[in-house]
């Protein structure tokens, strides 16, 4: 296997562990320790992708998170597909399968490339907006084609086999970035015994130390880093997380870390000891202090055809040579504005390759590295820059010219220099993203030609990100930041000796972003600013000419800074170019807003374990196992799983519900009512409190009695209802709707704690403590009588009474309340004993035709009686009077109650408010649609006045026809009128407005 760019020695790869992988269907080999990018470069792969808009061939540019081009689709199987993986951050593993995300039929021979080449001139910024504006209705069709031609990766079509999770962590100091500053900070913090988390996005910790040429404390920088990491690993309160990106920084130092635990091993997580490993983990870290040691991103220079494969940022050259033992070419030209980038040429030379020239934009560069290069006999061209490169799929030459960076012009003849690689460096941009996530605007510093983080409470930047880029300075800054973080977190700093680094003298850098060309920018060959989005310097200039002055508008018009790299490589250059075009300074232009996430994160890590069966809690009653065993279909009510209906044999839902309805009306049915909210109220002011909460009076409810109550919000609108029983003078048992239970308890606490703390009353939820079983129907008494010691005679235990006794030997409270209109007993027992009671009822219930029924039957039966369901027949805009429940409003109560004032407003007194009525469709077989709009005329006109809508609608086997409840404007005055319900299919249904009580309007059946 040829790895023609692999060096024979050096680097941090393990040559004894070759790994096979395929890229676009071709097999290659790399080594353990490679990234996918370094392995591709080792194999001499120049073209790795096609560009987004122009389909130009593109190569690897960088070595880290800022890489714009090497964005691949990974995964050997459909389920394991991962889109948009940065090859520079993907460790190589055996069997890795990668393909380019763009390029059809392939990256080498791309058809769109022809279009791009021809059409490039005709595709200015805003091209899609301008071209596909009209007609608007066609946009979805255009979009489909455009996305296919210029898309990035695709998501898998099969279920993800992997598991993910979240871990909550707390620490005194979180150090983001394990380069020199981060390691120094972690060491300073860790030695004191504080809880420290050190995270780094790379496979190996050490950051720039790993490709450093320098010495720390007399030994090579990587060795110092390894020693520090070993010491940190031995500290029990220090956690080091590699392959872990701090992706988002939120208020109060809440930082999310995305740890990739197995992506370096395989495309899906392996199993160890029979247990499937977590593929990715989101650490939710709450840190007292954050040390931001994220370093810098090198800025490439913007020159013509700077996107031809073979053009790279200078630092990446050093990284590939020194870390991965890959020299990605033979003949190098370096174009730089600063001393630090000279390392690329020195490393290239050290790898035995030819440095054709160093082109330095400064007139008199004179730092130590410059001298070193000159001493090696390398040609250094000063006051000049690479203004253009030649070549299609690989650089063949660089055009070099003397330039005037301030006057932005070429000031002398152009020289063509033959080479295959052009490295460029325009300086170093601090990685300010995390600080900016909190809203702090980065601040420009002229001395370092970069934005540093704005001030964030609790966050201390250190090292390169703080503008202290030289190794000695970064280490010192790290120690200082770690120490400061520690003392701010309340710890006594331990001793850390400042590591000693021989000083390297560096000359001052020059400000250069876009390199002038012999032609004006608008006519020069393309000078790419953002390679991932194919944004050129001319595009930015055009945007400013068209009137886009805010950098945010320029971003959205040109597309710069979108995509998976979010402008890490190009944004500062883009801002500098916009500033030049707008004749303003860079700080005046400012940056776009940085938002989480720093790099893309898998949806799995966001979801964690909150997926599939754990997506939402499911609440069960004590009788759930019985319902399952008896074939119930379930309905989710809030988070509760309630039996919906119990089909027998091949029954449809309609058939089952009709059977269940008849059983209740004719024999006896049973409902698991345990989900209803229950609140126990104790205290001498309990009764007074109830009177203020409910609309109706409670002063005279005697012990042993139950009463229905309505609760309004302070706006007078119904919020909940339920039956409350007087257990004792100072003791009440309140029931609420299933979904409203928690909100009602909060409501009680709110009013008690904030408005009436002087009332002596306590509340507590007992929803889960009591299981409730409602038996309803003419045979209910006979059934219960077989199992209870309670005297069930109507005279002693009447409708709306409650009694205590035993049922099936279990102490119970039995409430004679009814939601069906039938003779009803609701048996409440301690939930642990509920199954025994339920089963005992069925043992005795056979001869009475005892039938379990679900929520659907309950809905039909209650609607026949005109009983509302809050949240179905009401929607927060309905008053008790709108429901025809004036009987449940006590205007004469001595103390005002919640909602009373609102109910005396003229608006709530209007006669034409929407009011609850019944609807009887003319066609008796018809069941109206819930939500259907109601109008007063058969003939449709525009605009058509709508007067209401259907809230509940069912077929009643008891009545023998469909029926509905509805809210209709002035409905109470329309009884007997005909209304119409136009449907989407053109049919217009006709219905008569009737009383909402369809069955047993006198209530005889529940009183027997």
């Amino acid at each position: 296997m040829s790895q023609r760019n692999r060096l024979d020695h050096g680097g941090r790869v393990d040559r004894s562990r070759p790994l096979r992988f395929t890229f676009n269907g071709v097999a290659y080999q790399g080594y353990a320790g490679d990234t996918l990018a370094s392995a591709l470069l080792a194999n001499g792969i120049d073209v790795v992708n096609r560009s987004f808009k122009y389909s130009r061939p593109r190569g690897i540019v960088a070595a880290g998170a800022e890489e714009p081009n090497a964005i691949f689709q990974l995964g050997a199987s459909e389920a394991a597909q991962v889109p948009n993986v940065r090859a520079t951050q993907q460790a190589l593993y055996d069997g890795l399968v990668a393909t380019s995300t763009n390029g059809w039929p392939n990256v080498e021979r791309d058809l769109m490339g022809v279009v791009g080449e021809l059409g490039g001139r005709f595709m200015p910024p805003g091209f899609y907006y301008k071209t596909f504006m009209a007609p608007a209705a066609m946009w979805p069709k255009y979009e489909k084609v455009i996305r296919k031609a210029a898309g990035l990766g695709r998501s898998p079509k099969e279920r993800d086999p992997d598991i993910y999770d979240h871990v909550n962590r707390h620490c005194d100091v979180l150090v983001v970035g394990a380069g020199p500053a981060g390691l120094a900070a972690a060491l300073a913090a860790g030695r004191s015994g504080a809880r420290v988390i050190l995270c780094d996005e790379q496979e190996e910790m050490g950051g720039s130390l790993l490709d450093s040429r320098e010495q720390i404390d007399g030994r090579p920088a990587p060795e110092w880093g390894a020693a520090v990491l070993a010491e940190l690993a031995a500290m029990p309160e220090v956690l080091t997380l590699s392959r872990t990106t701090a992706n988002g920084c939120h208020d109060h130092n809440f930082v999310t870390l995305h740890e990739r635990r197995t992506e370096h091993l395989a495309d899906t997580a392996p199993t160890f000891g029979g247990r499937r490993q977590v593929r990715a983990r989101l650490h939710r870290v709450r840190a007292a202090r954050v040390v931001l040691a994220t370093g810098t991103h090198e800025r490439p220079l913007v020159y013509a055809h700077n996107d031809v494969p073979g053009n790279m940022v200078a630092g990446a050259i050093s990284t590939y040579i020194r870390r991965y033992a890959v020299a990605p070419g033979r003949r190098l030209v370096l174009s730089t504005t600063n001393d630090h980038a000279y390392r690329a040429a020195l490393d290239w030379h050290g790898a035995g390759r030819e440095v054709v020239a160093i082109v330095d934009a400064r007139d008199n560069p004179n730092g130590d590295l410059v001298s070193e290069a000159r001493a090696l006999g390398i040609r250094v061209i000063t006051g000049a820059a690479v203004i253009e490169t030649r070549g299609k799929k690989r650089v063949t030459a660089a055009l070099v010219a003397p330039i005037d960076p301030v006057g932005f012009r070429v000031r002398g003849p152009v020289e063509e220099i033959s080479c295959d690689t052009v490295a460029s460096s325009g300086g170093y941009s601090p990685v300010v993203h995390l600080a900016a996530h909190t809203g702090a605007r980065p601040e420009w510093r002229d001395d370092i030609l970069g934005f540093v983080p704005g001030k964030v409470r609790g966050m201390i930047p250190a090292g390169g990100v703080n503008g202290r880029m030289a190794l000695a300075e970064a280490l010192a800054d790290g120690v200082e930041a770690g120490t400061r973080a520690l003392s701010e977190a309340g710890f006594k700093p331990g001793g850390v000796m400042l590591p000693q680094v021989p000083r390297v003298r560096e000359g001052r850098a020059v400000a250069l972003y876009q390199v002038p060309h012999v032609k004006p920018a608008m006519r020069a060959p393309k000078q790419f600013v953002d390679q991932q989005n194919d944004v050129t310097a001319a595009g930015i200039e055009l945007a400013t000419r068209e009137g886009f002055e805010s950098i945010e508008h320029v971003k959205r018009y040109t597309g710069m800074g979108f995509g998976t790299d979010q402008g890490k490589l190009g944004n500062i250059n883009a801002m500098a170019i916009a500033a030049r075009c707008l004749k303003q300074t860079i700080p005046d232009t400012g940056t776009t807003v940085f938002r989480p996430n720093y790099t893309p994160i898998t949806f799995g890590a966001i979801a964690g374990r909150h997926c599939r069966e754990f997506f939402d809690p499911r609440r069960y009653t004590a009788l759930h196992a019985w319902h399952v065993e008896h074939g119930a279909k379930f309905e989710e009510v809030g988070q509760w799983m309630r039996p919906w209906y119990y089909p027998r044999g091949n029954e449809t839902m309609d058939e089952a519900v009709q059977r269940e309805c008849r059983a209740v009306r004719e024999g006896v049915g049973i409902l698991d009512a345990s989900t209803l909210g229950k609140i126990e109220i104790q205290g001498k002011d309990a009764r007074e409190f109830l009177g203020r909460l409910y609309t109706n009076p409670w002063a005279k409810l005697t012990v042993g009695k139950c009463r229905y109550g309505l609760m309004c919000k302070d706006d007078g609108m119904v919020m909940d209802d339920g039956v409350t029983a007087c257990l004792g003078e100072n003791h009440f048992h309140m029931t609420t709707t299933t979904g409203g239970a928690a909100a009602v308890l909060d409501w009680l606490e709110l009013w008690h704690q904030t408005e009436w703390p002087e009332l002596e009353v306590y509340f507590n939820s007992v929803t889960d403590h009591w299981a409730a079983m409602a038996i309803n129907g003419p045979n209910a008494r006979k059934l219960l009588a077989e199992l209870t010691d309670i005297d069930l005679a109507n005279e002693r235990f009447g409708f709306m009474d409650w009694c205590a006794g035993t049922v099936a030997g279990v102490p119970a409270r039995v409430f004679r309340i009814s939601f069906t209109g039938e003779l009803s007993y609701e048996i409440n027992v301690q939930a642990n004993h509920a199954m025994h009671v339920w089963e005992a009822l069925f043992e005795k219930g056979g001869k009475y035709g005892l039938t379990p029924y679900g929520t659907e039957t309950m809905h039909v039966l209650r609607a026949e009686k005109g009983f509302i369901i809050v949240g179905q027949d009401t929607d927060g805009s309905v008053t008790p009077e709108d429901l025809g429940m004036q009987w449940c409003v006590g205007y004469k109560k001595p103390f005002s109650w919640i909602g009373r004032r609102a109910l005396s407003r003229p608006d709530t007194k209007r006669g034409d408010r929407k009011q609850l009525v019944g609807l009887k469709p003319r066609d008796p077989r018809l069941v109206l649609q819930e939500g259907a709009q109601i109008v007063l005329e058969r003939q449709i006109r525009i605009p058509m006045p709508m007067v209401g809508h259907v809230t509940s609608s069912y077929f009643s086997p008891t009545l023998g026809h469909g029926f509905a409840l509805a809210l209709v404007k002035g409905g109470s005055q329309r009884i007997g009128q005909t209304v119409y319900l136009p449907m989407p299919d053109g049919k217009v249904h006709e219905a008569e407005v009737v009383s909402p009580v369809f069955y047993d309007s006198k209530g005889d059946r529940q009183n027997v």
Binding site: R286, F614, H769, N832, H833
Partner: protein, 212 residues
């Protein structure tokens, strides 16, 4: 006519009773043996749970509770008193609310004794059917808890003898540390299945055994 309707909700005779997790325990499979398990889970079913409300400023109330239970009434957030008679415990829940847990079947007797001893404005409410205790023991419990709750369970913040009510997965629980590697969760009945399965799933990578 009495002020309060208090009664023993447990049957006189033995009947089939089902704890909140009886359904769930029957439908999960985990390690067959406790050896090598990072987490051992056990439901402490059928304990007596009482919610106590009252005023800390009422010294007679504080003294009455302490005398009845033989335990100090924790007055600070996170407070948990364990021991005394009947392996009882008192858990601070809010400035005027505590959770008392007593041995199985002792809840009515405890309530009666409390009521005999206390006067004025207070409340005792039996919630024994509505919640259960899940015990987690083993070297990996702390790591499991870190997956479940945003509350800091590091020993520095969560010593033995502390208990807090906190977010737990997408529900909530009272989390108590009763020994170095033994923790308890007090969970509501209706959420018990969800939380139990959640904990089992979160523990899976450490090896988990369900004890009787």
């Amino acid at each position: 006519m009495s002020d309060l309707a208090i009664f023993d909700v447990n049957p006189a005779a033995r009947i089939k009773s089902e704890s909140p997790l009886s359904m769930s325990r029957a439908t999960v499979s985990t390690l067959r043996l406790p050896q090598g398990a990072g987490v051992v889970i056990r439901e402490r079913a059928f304990l007596g749970h009482l919610v106590l409300r009252g005023r800390v400023s009422d010294s007679a109330f504080v003294a009455g509770v302490e005398e009845t239970l033989g335990l100090s009434l924790p007055l600070k957030a996170g407070g948990l008193s364990i021991g005394g008679k009947d392996e009882a415990s008192i858990q601070w829940v809010s400035p005027d609310e505590w959770l008392i847990i007593v041995a199985s079947g002792r809840e009515f007797e405890t309530e009666t004794r409390l009521r005999a001893c206390l006067a004025g404005h207070f409340a005792v409410m039996n919630v024994s059917g509505g919640q259960t205790v899940l015990e987690l023991a083993g070297p990996a419990v702390r790591e499991v808890l870190m997956k479940c709750t945003p509350y800091d369970v590091h020993p520095r913040n969560f010593p033995v003898g502390k208990g807090v009510s906190a977010v737990f997965a997408k529900s909530n629980a009272i989390i108590r540390r009763v020994a170095d590697e033994r923790w308890e969760l007090v969970v509501r009945r209706s959420f018990a299945d969800y939380l139990y399965r959640w904990v089992l799933d979160a523990s899976e990578e450490f090896g988990v055994y369900v004890a009787e």
